[in-house]
Symmetry: C2
Subunit: 331 residues, 2 copies
């Protein structure tokens, strides 16, 4: 294809290139027939504007970075999926940035995105976000965080109500007759992770039963360790709340290897609502986060902040998703 630039189209349409430019990016500024003619000619040539050149000139592109610690984690994968779509709908291109939990990489992405004139970015952190540090980057001012942040900082956030989620899990388990309910903390050192744990501790105490934290680690093996701890107990709980679905999988897997069956011997409930959970063995009962909504909302918040500088903190409602990993306690 002979290089297609705006000038080529302009010549072909017999107008100046500034007119072509306007025909595309500010249609109302061009006489109707002229515009239609130009568009037709452009179409015929198979011409599309160069996003690069546009970005360079206008200092604003359509790249929007989604910074996640690990795309292999289905939660982030689902988030990425809905966000690509949400971004697409609005004419953005999602740029997936994987940090592997290295905060330094986040910084690197920030400056890179700044250089690409990204209008804003979305960060799904793996640690408690230090908004102060973040703000040291120009780009830190145009970011939406998918987690809670400390204080009511000037960074928009989307989260699900952790306390409510744990409450739902607890209620479900109570309604099945469980009174001794353990907890396995999970991957990621986010505020969200912290909140879930705190909520468990608090609500558990409220209901009169002593909390049993089987593991409070934040690495991939929390589930395995939690299961081991469970096995060592004389009087293990009859149900376990896992801080997230991945941990729940690990718990059930580790338990299964020792001959403990779910939900016959012990009930397990996760937190996330991953699609994958439906195909687990057994299908995982879980507290569902509206991941798709989070993706859309994150982008909306970002746009909103960009326009009027408003900083919102959206807290979504979790939902109980009953599948097969919970049942009444073993007699």
């Amino acid at each position: 294809m002979p290089d297609l630039s705006i000038d080529v189209v302009a010549k072909a349409a017999g107008v100046h290139r500034s007119t072509v430019s306007r025909a595309f990016s500010r249609p109302e500024a061009v006489k109707r027939e002229t515009r239609e003619h130009i568009l037709k000619v452009a179409e015929g040539l198979g011409y599309t504007m160069s996003p690069l050149a546009q970005a360079l000139r206008t200092k604003t592109s359509t790249f929007i970075p989604l910074i996640v610690p690990d795309i292999t984690n289905p939660f982030f994968a689902e988030l990425a999926k809905t966000m690509t779509q949400a971004a697409d709908e609005r004419g953005y291109q999602l740029l997936l940035c994987v940090t592997n939990g290295d905060p330094a990489k986040t910084d690197g992405y920030f400056t890179a995105m700044q250089a690409m004139y990204a209008p804003f970015g979305i960060v799904a952190p793996s640690t408690k976000v230090d908004t102060e540090a973040m703000k040291r980057f120009d780009f830190g001012h145009k970011v939406v965080v998918i987690d809670r942040v400390e204080g009511d900082d000037a960074v928009p956030t989307v989260t699900v109500d952790s306390r409510r989620g744990i409450m739902i899990a607890l209620e479900h388990l109570h309604s099945l007759g469980h009174t001794s309910i353990g907890y396995v903390s999970g991957i990621a050192g986010t505020h969200t992770a912290q909140d879930r744990m705190d909520a468990y501790l608090e609500l558990s105490a409220d209901s009169g039963s002593a909390p049993v934290v089987l593991d409070s680690g934040s690495d991939l093996d929390a589930g395995t360790r939690g299961a081991e701890h469970y096995l060592e107990m004389d009087n293990p709980p009859t149900a376990i709340i896992a801080a997230n679905d991945m941990v729940a999988f690990a718990v059930i897997s580790a338990l299964g290897q020792r001959g403990v069956r779910v939900p016959e011997d012990v009930s397990v409930i996760g937190f996330d609502g991953l699609a994958l959970g439906a195909r687990f063995n057994p299908p995982l009962t879980t507290v569902r986060q509206p991941i798709a909504d989070m993706g859309h909302i994150a982008i909306e918040l970002a746009e909103k902040q960009n326009i009027d500088g408003s900083v919102d903190h959206i807290v979504l409602e979790p939902q109980l998703l009953v599948r097969g990993s919970t049942s009444g306690p073993r007699k």
Copy 2:
């Protein structure tokens, strides 16, 4: 930050901007001290070159698109993960493009990437790739496909030896004493999927036992249907090969819901070697694909093609990964 352009740095360093440009992109063309001075000044200012401006001028960027049908599928997620890293190491930025199985989207991404001067791209297809159609796009000439393609076409590819993989699975099962081995086909209508199926049919016949295809669909429910089919059989096989890990998960899950236990009642072996499989219940025995290698190789192939136009077809060796979902047949 006051806009940092090459001219600012040039002024600060007391040289012309072309010298600054060279100091960065063609170091050997600048006197050593000058270069070091410039770099120091730039560093002090916190300056980095605009990839956009560079791309615009040189007509070649560092964006490399990875086109996948579904990032939610752990196979693609793992691929994306290793590829981001591989890309990073070579100074590229991976642009994740999700098609959701819509071929039209692939076309769209092609032209978009062309416009961004991506030097090349990687496609992990969800259907048999039509290289002819692909070549109609300029960008189709700079793509590496993660699948086999028809004929020895002019498109570089990376795959794992499907036949060998199925053979490994079969051998493993045979060695455990299984003689009746079923097969559940899987997600994706790729050549790879086809090859696995064909290999099963052929090798199965070779070994004297009649092939039992429990399901040949290519959607997400293949596993579930396969399990149902299994349950309806009078003389079900004692082992099942699943076309990929996700399907294996679904099969085991569906079976589990009907009280059929793996591996006690029936052995199941997957194909992919997903990390997730280690945390399944039971941990999934599977034929491992060297996904990390595939990512690196894909990028190498692309670079190679870019440089000398060579088109290679790399076929990797799969490996048996024995975990907990296979055992001897039930007596």
